[in-house]
Symmetry: C2
Subunit: 267 residues, 2 copies
């Protein structure tokens, strides 16, 4: 940023790139493992390998945080752990609530990875009256009626939504009204939230669909090497009307109960 002389890096710390932020937890994990093995220092090359990135990227990422390494030596493991933790805001602990204690919500409540790094599950909340008081992961499930009270009494700013898709938007609105400003959404819906609220989305089926895309490519390449046309490649404009008609037919023939499932496919 600042060219050459000035030792103070201008006004840094403004705007660490998102891509970098997203990798800091990876570095932190790798560093924590080294720390447990009492490794005192590590080079960008070694750490990068442990985190599954390349070393140039890692050095660039760290350069946004400051000059925390020593040329000719590497990085002090403990020191970096602290710097990254602080940058990520993990030196304080964050109470979170999990809303929707179905299979997934229960799995999340039991997931050790939360507690181990600055996050504390403050409450489990579910709309089902039958769940009320039931212990999950050692805590009693509380009813949605008390959501607002729970949020404000615990000073919760981060909420995890693990409800069915249909409930997610409304839950998010209540969370936000009660003071939550960051949401981790496991429900397969797009949440619309006001400015200033962060939403991150974890979607199991989307990840699988992305894998399927690449998997298909692999299969397609093999096939293409063998036969000329696999019927899967580029659909020339001339086929458009045909496939459109076929798609319409397919659509007409569906109509499942919950209707999420497609049916026949055209030629």
């Amino acid at each position: 940023m600042a060219t050459g002389r000035t030792h103070r890096p201008a006004t840094r710390s403004r705007g660490i790139p998102e891509a970098t932020v997203a990798r800091l937890p990876l570095y932190l994990r790798a560093l924590t493992a080294l720390s447990e093995r009492s490794v005192p220092t590590v080079s960008s090359e070694e750490l990068a390998a442990a985190a599954g990135v390349n070393s140039a990227k890692l050095r660039k990422d760290f350069s946004y945080l400051g000059s925390y390494g020593t040329r000719g030596v590497g990085y002090d493991v403990e020191y970096l752990v602290y710097q990254i933790s602080r940058e990520l805001g993990l030196t304080q602990d964050w109470p979170v609530v999990i809303v929707g204690i179905g299979n997934l919500g229960a799995a999340l409540a039991n997931y050790g990875g939360f507690a181990s790094r600055g996050f504390r599950v403050a409450a489990l909340i579910d709309a089902d009256p039958a769940m009320k008081g039931k212990p999950v992961a050692g805590m009693p499930v509380q009813h949605t009626d008390d959501l607002e009270k729970i949020i404000s009494e615990n000073g919760v700013h981060i909420g995890v939504i693990a409800t069915p898709a249909g409930a997610a938007q409304q839950v998010s609105e209540r969370l936000i009204a009660a003071g939550v400003t960051s949401i981790l959404n496991f429900a397969p819906t797009v949440l619309s939230v006001p400015d200033g609220v962060d939403v991150r989305k974890v979607d199991l089926s989307i990840e699988l669909q992305i894998l399927a895309f690449h998997e298909q490519r692999k299969a397609g390449e093999e096939a293409a090497a063998v036969a000329g046309a696999a019927g899967d490649a580029v659909t020339p404009p001339s086929l458009r009307a045909d496939t459109a008609a076929a798609a319409a037919a397919a659509a007409a023939s569906r109509k499942g109960p919950d209707g999420d499932v497609p049916a026949v496919m055209p030629a």
Copy 2:
């Protein structure tokens, strides 16, 4: 791509950008919802709103697939559903195995979103002999010993790993040796895999850490507006030794049971 005249879009279909691929499932979900409501056509503006992106991005994305819209009108919902499904490889169905049937694995097995879109859970696999034969989501859990047999008999190319971190690398190696070429990894580890194998990673605690980063920023901004130095903002180089010492103190005072927590800090 091709300038002006030629109606055939040159050699397209080579290389849809990753960012676009990652959004196709979102569009597909929005389109499916419209399809269920029997909406015949949709504009880029409407569909973009439903998918939570802006319309220019959506149109650009679709332009990589081909010219599937009608100017002045919009997109035919059924036709687009089909085109995107085909592009993603969802017109065939993909058998998947889930390895590691703990809380999370069970939640995944029960998750309806898989089956509903071209994915079929072919088997549930766990290393614990006590789990063998136990029904989860209506299927008997099978033992890891039979992993290779299960993969090859079912023609599985996609595997989901929901084991503890320690087991994940070894499981991935066995999956790959048996023929799996795409892995969805829920274990908090970096997998190293040979070229040609795709890995996607879902990491709950990483997502929370990213949220915490932004959450901290918000808090920092408020504080900065009030007092001058919140102790959270830019740490000038002169403070470096001090903060390191503070970190040492903080670290010494922690000490979790499983020891995921670091210890001393250097000067």
